[in-house]
């Protein structure tokens, strides 16, 4: 499989009154053609910042990209012109955000918003869309997400629909443009489990059908297991572990991943661990070396000074932790 997206050593910071927040601290992430990748981490670890950097929708200022590159199909997104970027967003990238109430405009009908997206995505393509084509594409997109009565939904405002319906509309919008890479930022976090199940199944089907690559951001290990082939665990602005989803969830290597997995309540009823002591570091003054070291029970001398590189642990799993350094 060819590499579609490669994020290399991405550093992103925010300049605020108190100083410089160093949030992303060397993120490495690969997405291959047609692959589904999960990005998991706790609140405030920089998942959304990563995705927003890829889409280049981070507000600048206060944010600034201080290093690294984001290569999409061989070109660096960070050096693209505004026009190239617009074309990329029209044809190649698409996103679903967590809160559909915020990503849908409350004063326009669903139809207006959906038509705008379909029309916009046709700019720069060979085929011109007639008004009838646009209408058909919109209805088709809504129908694909399992929405009953799409004609009526098109005339509704977002506030008239339930949470599950709104999220379906966001999915319909994201998938109506036949993009190559879908960035789904917590697509089901606000939904009930039965609705989440429906939405994930639909997303799964549609992505399969269209052959798009997906990056799913979530903090739910269960969702990642259902939806992705490869998973990246993120902590405090860096990927700490990556690997095949099932293998990684069964044999987590990094102390952080292990702590996280032990904290997930399980149906087997074996109780819940005490969690991980401490909390995510202050980005104004992050700890030197491995950013997890103040919370880590295996902390060694070297962890406090230099941040660890990735070590292969076999089975395409690699871990950024000195515990897995091979003696040479």
């Amino acid at each position: 499989m060819d590499r579609l997206l490669a994020i290399k050593d991405l550093h992103v910071g925010f300049r605020i009154f108190e100083g410089h927040l160093r949030v992303l601290n060397g993120v490495h992430l690969d997405v291959k053609e047609g692959e589904r990748v999960g990005l998991v981490g706790e609140t405030g670890c920089g998942k959304t910042t990563t995705v927003k950097s890829v889409l280049r929708v981070l507000p600048m200022p206060p944010s600034e990209i201080t290093g690294g590159e984001i290569i999409y199909k061989g070109k660096d997104i960070l050096t693209m012109t505004r026009r190239q970027m617009a074309m990329l967003r029209r044809h190649e990238l698409t996103a679903i955000f967590q809160d559909p109430l915020q990503s849908l405009n409350p004063v326009f009908t669903v139809g207006t918003q959906l038509r705008d997206i379909v029309k916009d995505s046709a700019i720069g393509r060979k085929h011109r869309l007639t008004r009838r084509d646009v209408e058909a594409r919109c209805l088709q997109a809504l129908r694909e997400t399992g929405m009953p009565d799409p004609e009526r939904i098109m005339t509704n405002y977002p506030a008239q629909l339930s949470g599950g319906m709104r999220q379906r509309i966001c999915i319909a919008e994201a998938l109506s443009t036949n993009a190559n890479l879908l960035l789904a930022d917590e697509p089901t976090t606000n939904l009930d489990v039965t609705i989440q199940d429906q939405i994930l199944r639909k997303l799964d089907e549609l992505v399969e059908e269209k052959g798009a690559s997906v990056v799913v951001i979530t903090h739910s290990m269960g969702v990642v297991r259902d939806l992705t082939q490869r998973v990246n665990i993120m902590y405090a602005g860096a990927i700490v572990e990556t690997g095949d989803t099932r293998t990684l969830l069964e044999t987590p290597k990094h102390p952080y991943t292990r702590g996280l997995m032990a904290s997930v309540p399980k149906l087997t009823g074996e109780g819940i661990s005490e969690g991980i002591p401490g909390r995510i570091p202050n980005y104004l003054d992050p700890p030197a070396g491995c950013r997890f070291h103040p919370r880590c029970e295996h902390c060694m001398e070297i962890c406090t000074s230099t941040s660890p590189p990735f070590y292969e642990t076999g089975d395409e799993q690699s871990v950024a932790c000195y515990l897995y350094r091979r003696e040479s």
């Binding site: 489990v193 039965t194 969690g275």
Partner: protein, 332 residues
């Protein structure tokens, strides 16, 4: 378990009249909580979990039905309850960010329940507050004079728990206490709550939408759907043999993290449809529109709660119908 339940809810109904019609938030539910138990009240959003809790607390007066605490009826508004009752029943809310006053220090926040209930002299209160913070594992010297915004989400929730404990309660309503928190923090809060329950002999009504969490925390689980209870059972029994189709749908929808857990889920029931509006509840069984095992009778008659022994109660036409329904044993 003792004989008299600490909380008894009998045919509780709470309707809210609105312009669009009557919202049947809680519609005839009956359950009780025994001393020392943790009852997990689980349901999707809009199923009436929080309204039930708020009726127990007296934030709303029930439309009809009885609520009894330690055998005495308490179905009245908060402002008509005596202080002793308010001391015994406390609540921890979902989002500690909005349930703690951002302009007050933690000391001020914790002193309110002590003052209201006239506990201790001003000087004694300081040591009481320190002890409360120690109970929730926050070093008092460090936290007493901080504002909520200066501490993390998990720590805020611990302060909220300390505030609930301030009056030596017997019964605490936990309204989704960890759903705003990360899993690594959730573990700590849950373990703390469980330890406190044992040490202080507390009884919890634990409201949540997370069934996997309930598996590890509750002694009994009750499932709510559209203002009604579907099923109540002891936790092991509940997860070993769920009976109501809605329960099975819920359980099979949980995303799990290991193959072991996958085996514990009932065979896949494809979830369909959404929870209808509580203004416009479908006739008969309110779940029949989404139910995979729907029968003609379901759209006509609302099933009754049927005890099936060992505290397992189900409200579904599939079970124990006198006229030709299947016996609970020979399902599937």
């Amino acid at each position: 378990m003792s004989e008299v339940p600490i909380l008894g809810v009998d045919r509780l109904v709470k309707h809210f009249p609105t312009k669009a019609g009557v919202v049947r938030a809680v519609d005839d539910i009956t359950f009780d909580v025994s001393m020392g138990d943790t009852l997990g009240l689980v349901g999707e959003s809009g199923s009436g979990k929080t309204t039930t809790a708020q009726c127990v607390l007296g934030i709303y007066p029930p439309t009809s039905g009885r609520i009894a605490f330690e055998g005495a009826p308490i179905g009245v508004m908060f402002n008509r309850r005596n202080r002793e009752l308010k001391r015994k029943i406390r609540i921890v809310f979902q989002d500690p960010g909005s349930s703690l006053n951002p302009k007050r220090t933690i000391k001020q926040i914790l002193s309110v329940p002590l003052k209201v209930h006239g506990m201790g002299t001003p000087r004694e209160r300081l040591s009481m507050m320190s002890r409360l913070l120690e109970m929730v594992e926050l070093p008092p010297a460090e936290y007493l004079y901080k504002h909520p915004q200066a501490i993390g989400g998990g720590e805020k929730q611990m302060v909220a728990i300390a505030r609930a404990l301030a009056t030596n309660p017997r019964f605490i309503v936990l309204d989704e206490p960890t759903s705003a928190l990360d899993v690594s923090v959730q573990g700590k809060i849950i373990n703390l709550l469980m330890r406190l329950a044992e040490e202080l002999d507390l009884t919890y009504l634990f409201i949540t939408h997370d069934l996997s969490l309930m598996r590890n925390v509750a002694t009994r689980v009750a499932i709510m759907y559209l203002g009604k209870l579907c099923e109540i059972a002891r936790t092991e029994e509940f997860f070993r043999s769920p009976l109501h189709p809605y329960t099975k749908m819920l359980l099979s929808s949980i995303p799990v993290v290991s193959a072991e857990e996958e085996e514990l889920k009932p065979s896949k029931i494809v979830s369909q449809g959404e929870i209808p509006s509580p203004v416009d509840v479908p006739p008969g069984c309110s779940f029949h529109l989404r139910c995979p095992e729907k029968m003609p009778v379901c759209s006509q008659r609302d099933p009754e709660m049927r005890p099936l022994g060992d505290g397992h109660v189900v409200r579904c036409h599939l079970f124990g119908e006198p006229s030709g329904g299947s016996a609970p044993g020979d399902l599937e």
